[in-house]
Symmetry: C5
Subunit: 334 residues, 5 copies
């Protein structure tokens, strides 16, 4: 069996009634079952998906979008197929990277075709939930798959947000702490990740709104409150992401400024040292100058022949140094 097909099963009367079946049998089952068939593809090529598209009559434009990842979250309605793109995220904490993957869902009356790009485990968890049975979800058919997937994707947003909040807290305490490092790069990179996160979340509000308003054909209004709930959570995620973005802007500005201030403080300390050294040097120049004068070789110089001249001059030198020292202290140079 093709490895791009993650799974392929029939759900009927609220539970899974088949193992992993072949694509042909799945297409057949989709016509005969009162339940629905779920075909899950992962990272399919255009050829892989063409077979499935053919078997289930998927709209070609949507199929193209499902092959080329990097879509915007969106919801398009075709004649009898609803096509939705979701972008689950995973926050890889130790690298501070938001890993955005992509899920495309085709919802027909009796089938769901899901296409996954990237490493999201959302579809796997939804399938596990369904296979486990017990929940009445399965009996609601394809739209239940859509609901559970969207719900888990949005829950994943909140987990990512929590982790990012913690990282921002950590950054804050570093920036405003005694830490001497420059955090600009880290902040900037997290900001970039948050921006990518935002691109995955913000466009999702409009499609969820339409689902919550019960405006999508084939998804009856009984499902609306469920999508309303997902929509509320998506809005909350958007709010939080916007908030993070703004916080990071502020903390980046603060960090850049503080690094500058820290440099200035070092310079101020260095200048103080220089002033102190210079002041001592200036004091040392006094004996040199005075002694120099009494080292001149004039024949006639007072004091030179005096018995106490030497001691007088030593005292003068000491006095001058003392006075200079006092002056410099008073000026706060020493």
């Amino acid at each position: 069996m093709d490895p791009v097909i993650a799974d392929c099963g029939v759900y009927e009367n609220g539970r899974r009634v088949s193992g992993r079946i072949s694509l042909d049998r799945a297409a057949e089952a989709a016509h005969s079952t009162s339940g629905f068939v779920w075909v899950g593809l992962q990272d399919p090529t255009a050829e892989d998906i063409a077979v499935v598209a053919d078997a289930f009559g998927l709209p070609p434009l949507a199929v193209q979008d499902a092959v080329h990842a990097h879509q915007r979250p969106k919801l398009n309605v075709y004649d009898d197929v609803v096509f939705m793109v979701l972008k689950p995220v995973r926050y890889v904490d130790h690298e501070e990277v938001v890993d955005v993957s992509e899920i495309a869902l085709f919802l027909g009356r009796n089938f769901v075709v899901t296409v996954r790009h990237g490493r999201s485990d959302v579809l796997g968890r939804v399938r596990a939930e369904l296979d486990r049975g017990g929940s009445e979800l399965v009996s609601h058919g394809p739209k239940a798959v859509l609901y559970r997937t969207a719900d888990m994707v949005v829950d994943g947003y909140e987990e990512a947000i929590t982790s990012i909040t913690e990282d921002i807290d950590e950054i804050e305490s570093q920036v405003f702490g005694t830490d001497e490092d420059d955090h600009a790069e880290r902040i900037y990179k997290l900001k970039r990740e948050v921006a990518e996160f935002r691109r995955a979340v913000l466009p999702l509000a409009a499609p969820l709104q339409r689902l919550a308003d019960g405006l999508i054909p084939g998804i009856d209004s009984a499902a609306a409150p469920y999508f309303r709930d997902v929509h509320d959570h998506a809005l909350r995620a958007s709010d939080a992401i916007e908030g993070h973005d703004r916080l990071l802007s502020d903390v980046l500005q603060a960090d850049l400024a503080r690094v500058g201030v820290r440099q200035s403080k070092i310079a101020v300390r260095q200048n103080e040292d220089m002033r102190r050294i210079s002041a001592w040097a200036a004091i040392a120049l006094a004996p040199t100058a005075i002694a120099g004068i009494y080292g001149m070789n004039f024949e006639f110089m007072p004091l030179l022949t005096s018995r106490y001249g030497y001691f007088v001059i030593l005292a003068v030198i000491g006095g001058v140094c003392w006075i200079l020292y006092r002056l410099f202290r008073r000026s706060d140079w020493l």
Copy 2:
């Protein structure tokens, strides 16, 4: 009785007609009373609330949201229950922290179930008001509880805003005053609190608008002006919070810049000192150099044997120092 149940009473004909009753009796009373029953829960677990949800037929999705705090303010209408989330805030002045709690209300035809997370005293004050009687509010049933709660929550916003305004005033006078400290951390943290505050307030406008427009089934248009009033106040709070946020951005920028300037001023003062010390040292070098020359041991040097040579040179040294001193003064170096 379960400690998560804060209170549970029956209101009829405009006043409270029961003490704290059990949940079973409350559910019963909700069916039989012409008034309404109020069940108040605090920090309930999923199990706690399940019992109440079951007794009153609360919509499961809303119940889930009520258990997990950290919702956005919102208003969802289910078949016969209106569900609203409000986020009261309390500004803890000495820590400059905005403490956001959460209140969820389920409004049925004859009952109100309130769920409180965090330390807000709003519900307690509403209940006290109702219990006190005298007000005709009680006779308006569940929607009166919603109105009073929303009104008090929004009044609480205005109190918090007033306190924050005072703190910003204080910060301003420090930043632009003679205070030498760096206020970046304080400003940044207050900005973060204001951002959280905003997340509690801004999304509230839309639900209140719907209430003010009388669009919520079960809340008749007679109540609309009351919610219009709350809506006006919520908008005012939003305006003020946005204003605070912008002010804090400006004052942060000013603070960061001023800290830099303050450092520069210190450097300028230090440089002046260095220039003065160096200038004095330069003056002191003159006698050293001249005396050095007359300290050379050449046999044939003019002046050495002269009677007044020594004094001539002393005068020369004095003159050179004086000239240097004048030059340096003229250059403003001394």
Copy 3:
């Protein structure tokens, strides 16, 4: 008569037909007159206004808002009363402060109740205009009072804007001039005032729009063009205020940067001085060193006994100093 009642008069057939009458007679007259009664209150307490509210049947929520100043500009329609809040401003030029006051108007079919908080003279001027007569305004009843008040309030905005524009021009010429001061505080404070101004003006657009569209019951569409005109002017004021705010942001940024640059320029000048002093000191070290060598007491030293040794060395010293001087000049150090 109660001092909080500024005036109380009856207007009929296009002119004032009474002096200042008592509140009881006013309420009576409001029922009997074909014109209208105007009751003007200033800074009333809840008790003061309760009497008036009772006499004229004012909606309690609006009355509450009228007592507590600090409302947003707004327009609420009650059953038979229109309630509007306006926020006149006055720019106190010598303090660069925007003084925001508040006017609340209750418009009934045959009465106007106005409540004033703060020092605005708008209501006084409207009343003077009406009392003067001659204008056909009076015959249009309460809505004419609303129109004239709103018009004068918005005209007041434009006056304030003109004054602020002048102050910004002054700030600009200072920031970009030779002025050495730091204008950050002044700019910041003006920015804060402009922000408060904005809060008074921006929310006014929506109510004026509704009036201009003739959507307010009791204010017939014949008045719409008048309110359209006020609305246009309010929008212009909003544009100008937004422009001011942006200009002030830019000029604040420029000012902060320029103060930094100015400090750097001082540092550069100081560094030049230091370099010059050091260069001279370095030159002075040459004779000291050379002379020191010939001051050594070796018995056998060439030149010492030579007749011209002294002059040779003097020439060497001079030459070395000259060369150093030339070198330092070439390096632009002197």
Copy 4:
């Protein structure tokens, strides 16, 4: 004839059928002609315009706005008169000033009254176009005048934008070039002019939209595509102006930062000089110190009496200087 009346003529059957006629005859002609009358006023006082307003029955509020310049671009519909305000701009390149003037147009069924404030030549050019004849425009009556005026005003915006783009290009190459000047003032002032420009252009989109949608009574939908075209161009101008504003913000930030960096570079160069001078001075201190030691007057000092002592010490001095020189070179201080 009144100098405030720029021209006054009758247009019929697609061409001008009168010279400059008096106001009375114009008003008369407006009633009798199958074409239309155009009265052009420039900088009229309230009295000047009152006569015209009276003759043509212009709406008083609009007349007031036409007298007081400094309106926002707008379009108001009165019973049988359409009133539009346009704000032509002219970019005075050598002063880098956006000169905003104002044109008010009153369009009746058979007349156009235009009021011009400031130095725009748009109306003159429209009139010249009409007088020249040949175009079928004239036969479309007043709305053709409106179209041509709006079209030329918006064309003028594009010319101004082109000139401003060139100035921004010039500023960019200066800021990022080797130019040592500070361009903050120039950038700031251009930004202010662009802000004024924006205030003239942005509010124009809404009125043009209404004209393009054919929503203005008296301006039939056949004219809509023409106004749609002007609207498109106005939007393009808005886009460009917004773009300019953002570019100028960026370039201002870059300029301010670069001036700071330039100052720092000067400081770095100066510090290098200082280090070099100090290093040389430090080297010069070695001979001074060593020679000083051998200049001491002790009776018993080794080497002094040695025949080669002097040369040994000279060699030592030279060696020490050489070592210091090598060390300083290695540390990159020389």
Copy 5:
């Protein structure tokens, strides 16, 4: 044949049925064919296009817009012609320049007239696709040409975005790397290019939305999903461009700050050197001063005549130097 006519052919029954024909025959064919005629012009003058406009009855205003390039992306509907302007971009990587060209399309019932300004190859590729046949596109007539063109233009946006993303990645690693250069100019210029890019993309969303909603007469709703797809991609491009713009703002700010910090670090290193040199010089002053004292010529000085005086003083000098050295080391000055 006129060189401004790139090509001119007839498409019928899903394939091209003519070679390059003359304009006259094309206009004729447009009336007789069941397919459609495509006339492609490149950089036409007003005269060139007038001939075509005449032959196909193109709306004059649209024709004017097609001649003057520098339009906004837009879609205007005339009586029986749809006019659309698209702005393809090409990112010239080695110059980091976004090259924006312009395509105008006139869609009639049986003809397409395309006008190209600049170097886009989009129209050529669409024509090649059609000429190649095989695709069922041709049978959908003019609107298929519009779809393919819009689709390729938007695909081109995504290519450009990918290249810009790579350049931004490169800039990031340079700014946060060890690279000592200032990247402000590069970042600023790329930001300017992105701004121009945005002006080409953002206004395209509204016309595509109208096409996707099937609101354009003559373009049946069967085509809507195709344009919906293009619209989705255009939105994604807009998102990405906005994201780029914000990233570049952040990285510009970071770069400007880091250049400043780098300068400060150099200054700190220089100051350290200066401190070290000064400290050594201060140490060297000690022997000079002490030796100077013992070089004085007093007759009576203790120690001078002592046999070990010289050595005692040498030891003193050595000791003082050692103590100074230890002190300076302890202060971290050496």
